[in-house]
């Protein structure tokens, strides 16, 4: 990805409507078409899944776009395993907002 994709949590969706972002979270439920992911700040986000990708693990990182209705359209995903400390992830999201020069 050449364009920077800021990391977001559920609270930041407002800021990034129609923008491409990264979302790291825990898979709560999954169907073929959509999924529910808990983001690092605890909020749940409805994902419109990309049928070509497979989600393997409990924790995933999704690259996609925030829609006007606050759902998330997935472009691509990465499996992050079973052991992610979401509190740390949220800190990264927080620092990414505080020090954008470092992250974008």
């Amino acid at each position: 990805m050449e364009k920077p994709t800021p990391r977001i949590n559920s609270g930041l969706r407002q800021k990034y409507i129609d923008k491409t972002v990264r979302l790291t979270g825990k898979v709560v439920s999954f169907t073929g078409e959509s999924a529910l992911v808990e983001s690092s700040d605890g909020g749940q986000i409805i994902i419109k899944t990309n049928r070509d990708t497979t989600w393997g693990t409990s924790y995933v990182e999704l690259i996609g776009r925030v829609e006007k209705d606050f759902t998330f359209t997935e472009f691509s995903s990465i499996n992050l395993g079973e052991n992610i400390d979401l509190k740390l992830v949220d800190k990264v999201v927080e620092y990414g907002q505080k020090y954008p020069d470092l992250f974008e």
Partner: protein
């Protein structure tokens, strides 16, 4: 001087010309100047009463007196009627009617000074200086005045301030002193007076003493040399307020002073110092106290003020100074404050000798230099001032705190950067970087100190990686041909238990370090047991080397013990890894977050 009316000029200048004592005053004409004007010739005079002189204009009608020679240079006249006036912003007395008292007078009477300047100097009129009274060449230009607001002023303003001067003595603030001002007076308190110091070197020898002067605007150091020491040493007393003027303003030599001022004063022959009884406007002392806990934020060499309670006194010691080779006295105190930290404060010479630390006194120390030995230390500089139990709010509240909580509090010191191991315990949680460990001289004493760090293995010495150990007691065994014998257990073993004694170099982004590791840590770092490693070394050296290579560039969380050991007259800090563990990323990340939060950018 009896002929001339005393203070006549001063009175005219201050517009008191109508006073009875100024009735028909007698003055001397000390200069005459012809001024051609459109209306004819006018004469400008300088008239003097023997103490002061000022400008005067002869009215047109009186011009004849000059032309006829009745008024000449140094003639004495009696002024019958005059009008004060301003010409080009300067005070000029118009002489309307006068009488000649004495035409031919050989000399100027007295040593009159320009009344305009003298009016600005009211605060320093009397001087304790036994040398010649202040003499000023009569000049017609307005010289620089003492008030800061008069810098670069116009002539008009001169007029204004001349009148004001009789009400307000003009005192310069210490902050505004600079070498471009020639006439100034400060009103300052001596906040500290040094001892008389003598020096002898190839070029010269002599003596000096210095004082720190303080007013509400700032501070400045003043030094007196040689003769001036005799004149001024007894005059200037600590805590008294003085008017000082006519000292030389020079560039400050920072290595000899801790006062924050670009300039300092040199008290010389012409310096006037007068005791001032009005102490009201001058503060007692200017402190900028730093809490002991915050001394960590200051670099070595910084100068600060502290207030604290003396918890401990290591007594008066006599040492030979490293810098001068002279024997000096020093006293080390342990000072604490309510931030529950303690720090060592060193006093020197006279201050050290006379200090009595009984009763856990509260002290204020102004002008302490921060050192970094064992973390942080303080040393009272020679220009610094130490006060015991001063009556200021900070000291009083500290005394109250000490009486209630202070005696029972345990204090952390700077020597171990770490809260957790004041007992030298093994559980050290606080992380330091390698550079910090070296900088803080962890392990600088024979008492071991522990710290934790995150570093990468960059080199392992391939020789002597393990020793043959006794399986029972782990001591080194000797090869006696067909077995290995342990001296302590007095047993022989077929094969020893090899145990790691690695010498390796670790590095982090700040620095690197040579460390040792024994078997427990060695196993983690190499990944194989020492027995297997030695086996490989004996049989397949290239595989052994490759194996060692694979240990490199791996990062671990290491607990290190640091201790100074003396070996053949050389004392070095030896570092040993007592625990090596792979990085717990989650834990490390939380630690990083803590550090980031502290950064507060």
């Amino acid at each position: 001087m009896e002929q001339l009316t005393k203070n006549a000029i001063k009175n005219f200048f201050e517009d008191k010309g109508d006073l009875p004592e100024n009735n028909l005053p007698v003055v001397q004409v000390i200069n005459i100047k012809r001024i051609p004007t459109a209306t004819g010739l006018r004469y400008r005079l300088v008239i003097s009463d023997g103490n002061h002189f000022m400008q005067a204009m002869l009215s047109a009608a009186q011009g004849g007196l000059i032309e006829s020679g009745q008024i000449d240079k140094n003639s004495i006249i009696k002024i019958l009627k005059s009008n004060p006036n301003s010409l080009q912003g300067r005070r000029v007395l118009v002489l309307v009617n006068l009488e000649v008292v004495n035409t031919t007078v050989p000399d100027k009477i007295g040593q009159p000074v320009n009344v305009e300047n003298a009016m600005n100097d009211t605060s320093a009129t009397t001087s304790v200086n036994s040398a010649s009274p202040s003499v000023q060449k009569p000049s017609y230009q307005p010289t620089a005045q003492a008030q800061p607001q008069s810098m670069g002023q116009s002539r008009g303003a001169l007029n204004q301030s001349a009148v004001n001067n009789s009400i307000n003595p003009s005192v310069t603030s210490i902050k505004s002193l600079n070498p471009y001002q020639t006439k100034w007076t400060i009103k300052a308190r001596v906040s500290q007076k040094s001892d008389i110091k003598t020096w002898h070197n190839a070029k010269s020898d002599g003596k000096l003493f210095s004082v720190n002067l303080l007013d509400s605007s700032g501070e400045i150091k003043a030094t007196a040399f040689n003769d001036q020491v005799d004149r001024l040493y007894n005059l200037l007393e600590e805590d008294k307020v003085y008017y000082i003027s006519r000292a030389r303003i020079t560039i400050a030599r920072k290595q000899f002073s801790t006062i924050d001022n670009e300039y300092e004063l040199s008290l010389d022959n012409g310096t006037e110092i007068e005791v001032c009884s009005d102490e009201a406007a001058v503060p007692q002392a200017n402190y900028n106290f730093v809490k002991i806990k915050e001394i960590d934020n200051f670099d070595k060499g910084a100068v600060i003020d502290v207030v604290g309670v003396v918890k401990d006194d290591n007594g008066l010691q006599e040492i030979v100074s490293k810098t001068t080779g002279k024997p000096t006295k020093k006293r080390e105190l342990v000072v604490v404050d309510e931030t529950q930290k303690q720090i060592r404060l060193t006093l020197w010479d006279r201050v050290a000798e006379s200090f009595d630390s009984s009763g856990f006194p509260v002290i204020t120390a102004k002008g302490c230099r921060v050192g970094d030995f064992n973390g942080r230390t303080l040393s009272l500089s020679s220009g610094g001032a130490l006060k015991k139990n001063p009556n200021i709010p900070e000291a009083n509240s500290l005394k109250e705190w000490y009486n209630s909580d202070g005696q029972t509090t345990t204090y952390t010191s700077f020597s171990s950067q770490n809260q957790a191991f004041d007992n030298g315990g093994q559980g050290s949680n606080k992380k330091v970087s390698l550079l910090q460990a070296k900088r803080d001289n962890l392990g600088g004493s024979e008492r071991p100190e522990f710290f934790t760090t995150r570093a990468t293995v960059v080199y392992i010495k391939p020789e002597n990686v393990a020793y043959p150990a006794c399986p029972a007691c782990k001591k080194k065994t000797s090869n006696i041909g067909d077995g290995w014998r342990c001296e302590k257990c007095e047993k022989v073993f077929a094969s020893p238990d090899w145990r790691y004694i690695l010498t390796l170099r670790i590095a982090d982004p700040t620095s690197q370090l040579f460390v040792n590791a024994f078997d427990d840590a060695g196993n983690v770092l190499v990944g194989k047991s020492a027995n297997m490693a030695m086996d490989l070394k004996d049989n397949d050296n290239s595989s052994f080397m490759r194996m060692l290579g694979e240990c490199l560039n791996k990062t671990y969380t290491l607990k290190i013990k640091a201790r100074t050991e003396t070996y053949n007259d050389a004392a070095n800090v030896k570092y040993t890894i007592i625990d090596a563990s792979p990085i717990d990323y989650v834990k490390e990340a939380h630690f990083l977050i803590e550090e980031i939060e502290k950064m507060n950018i």
